[in-house]
Amino acid sequence: MKTEHRRINIRTTNSELNQSLAYFALFIFVFALMAILQPRRFFSGTNLQQLAFQIPEFGILAIGMMVAMISGGIDLSIITTANLAGITSAIVMLTLSHRGTMDLNALLQGIMADESTRQALQEAMPTGIAMIGIVAVTVLTALAVGMLCGLFNGFLVAKVRITPILATLGTMKLYEGIALVITKGSPLTGFPDEFIFLGSGTMLGIPTPMVIFILAIIGLAIMLRKTPLGRGIYAVGENPLAARYSGLDNSKILLKTYATTGLMSGLAALVMMARVDSIKVGYGNSFQLQSILVVILGGVSTVGGTGNIIGVVFSVLILRVISSGFNIMGFSNYMRNVIWGSLLIVVAIVISSGFSFAKSKKQKQQKIQGAAPQK
């Protein structure tokens, strides 16, 4: 019996295409809504610019979280990992930039806050190739620290067999603690212009962070769909036992999963630091809940095994547009948290009731069987 598969020539399956279209539609809807409600302020240059620059730092964190959740776990430490990565790389950068002109302790005590001191020091920084080299080292440090933190998470989950929620709850505190010990809470600032470019410059008219974000998306998309590691992550998330029986090395896959998430955290830290020219413990805390929201909204199952990066990216856009709307309408931070929290619950309810109209009879019957409470 020859089946008619040859008719399908496009790269994604029919249902994936449908899903992506649905997200795109939702995005257009939200965008349009904002445009109608506050056309002048929404479409103002500053607002759109802000959006374009802010989307990437959250987006990179979110796609990192997505990878962990597809594997059936979760990473509650992405923010503190990003902070730690940012802080260590900032120290490296500042030490290298101000070598000979000042010492670390003064730095940590916020000497940069003083305008005149800052001016003087910044003029004394190296430029040209030397600075580019310093920036490169900084970038590598952030990525390396992020990956190390991620590897430790992966180690706890894969080798010590601690559930991801607890493991990353613990490391969340641990990484925050380490960052606190290093900085005692003070901010680090006074970054060189060449570095700031990563967060505030443009390349061919597109903001640099957006370029970085797009590259990250492409990278992860390829990794997830077209590499054995990516397919392995989906398998482990869907059924770790069957994965093992199929010859996959679950430990290695999980280690790499969390390392990837950590890597994304490090990348996000760079973008964040470069945009606001400073880094401090506690930056980005509000992103914690939003990142989980965005991944679930984006179609990743709460127990893992399924999910599409396109859905998550659109969800990032949707959320950022809504957030920008909040800015315009003057919502306080706290009010926004209320809304994000409510959205999280609403989205979870909608998704768990499963879009019933889309499911077949058999699927509905299987649902009748019921299941134990998930964490």
């Binding site: 010590v160 067999r161 490391t171 969340m172 641990l174 409510s342 619950i345 979870a348 768990s352």
Partner: protein, 337 residues
């Protein structure tokens, strides 16, 4: 085989191991700073740990049932603010009404969690992550002045009450603080529920095998609503204990306690996957956490190190648990053959 079974049974029981570790730890710390094992210090630990202990009892119940609740500190913060302000506004009330009101408010907020968990079968992490933001966010949006530094005297008076006072050789007067007594009373209540009521068995049953619990005829809705309103209740009580101890109402301080409470519960042997946990273990876990933080202070370690140490402690203790679990499985296999 007899002897081996007995010793291994002992090693596998979490509480005795924890107790031994605590004793060893105390001895070591005391050798570094003899101020540690003094009655003053010990009673002080008992007192300051009561707030965490109260919340830990609630978290333990949730974990036994196989869930997790990270909104309890938000519930505590809201209860605290609403209760204290309300009683001040109507200019009535005493410590008892404060406790009752806060407990009630907490329980009601907990019911909301219970509703979402039961009705929609949502993952408990997601529900409580959401409600935590909602509760705390709503509170802070509504309050114009989030801190309250002047509260009626009866709060502090309560914390100064104590049972069994006596004077030490050094001349200081110490006693079993009312806060600790309250904790003991609640611990006893919880123990009674878990050991002697069908409700308690139901909590363990849900944590052990929820399908079986449904089939056996347990009223899952009732039990889950109880679980989540109970943790809300204890959070409410704990929040008033906070006001009693610190004499102010704060919008953020209690939020930061969340991880320590969870650490204490896990340290105390409650399994994260559900089905097991004891009151004694949880109390020991709470005291252990406070012993650690207290010892850090006494040994002159800067306070920034505390979260690092606590983080390590969580990871370490769960790691040991995980190892014990897999050891147990192999032991069972051997017996089977």
């Amino acid at each position: 085989m007899q002897k081996r079974q007995i010793t291994s049974k002992f090693l596998f029981r979490h509480e005795p191991m924890l107790f031994i570790v605590m004793i060893i730890f105390a001895i070591i710390v005391n050798s570094i700073n003899a101020a540690f094992l003094t009655p003053e210090n010990m009673f002080d630990i008992l007192k300051t740990s009561s707030i965490t202990g109260m919340m830990a009892l609630g978290v333990m119940i949730v974990m036994i049932s196989g869930g997790i609740d990270i909104s309890f500190t938000a519930i505590a913060t809201v209860s605290m603010q609403v209760t204290v302000r309300f009683l001040m506004a109507i200019d009535k009330g005493n410590i008892v009404t404060a406790f009752l009101l806060a407990g009630l408010i907490g329980a009601l907020m907990g019911c909301i969690n219970g509703f979402f968990v039961y009705r929609f079968k949502l993952p408990t992490l997601i529900v409580t992550l959401g409600t935590s933001s909602i509760f705390h966010g709503l509170l802070l949006s509504v309050l114009r002045i989030p801190h309250l530094y002047s509260v009626p005297g009866y709060y502090f008076d309560f914390s100064r009450m104590s049972l069994f006072t006596f004077t030490t050789a050094g001349g200081t007067e110490i006693g079993l603080s009312s806060l600790t007594v309250l904790l003991f009373v609640m611990a006893l209540l919880v123990w009674l529920i878990l050991r002697f009521t069908m409700l308690g068995r139901g909590i363990y049953a849900i944590g052990g095998n929820i399908e079986a619990a449904k089939r056996a005829g347990f009223n899952i809705m009732l039990i889950q609503m109880f679980i989540y309103s109970f943790i809300g209740f204890t959070a409410g009580l704990a929040s008033i204990e906070y006001v009693a101890m610190f004499r102010h109402v704060h919008p953020f301080n209690m939020m930061n306690m969340m991880l320590n409470v969870i650490a204490a519960v896990v340290l105390g042997g409650t399994s994260f996957s559900g089905g097991s946990g004891t009151v004694i273990g949880t109390l020991l876990g709470v005291w252990m956490i406070y012993m650690i933080t207290n010892s850090l202070i006494l040994m002159g370690v800067p306070s920034e190190w505390e979260p690092v140490v606590i983080g390590f402690v969580i990871i370490f203790s769960i790691g040991i648990s995980a190892m014990q679990k897999s050891l147990r499985k192999t032991e069972v296999k051997i017996i089977e053959n």
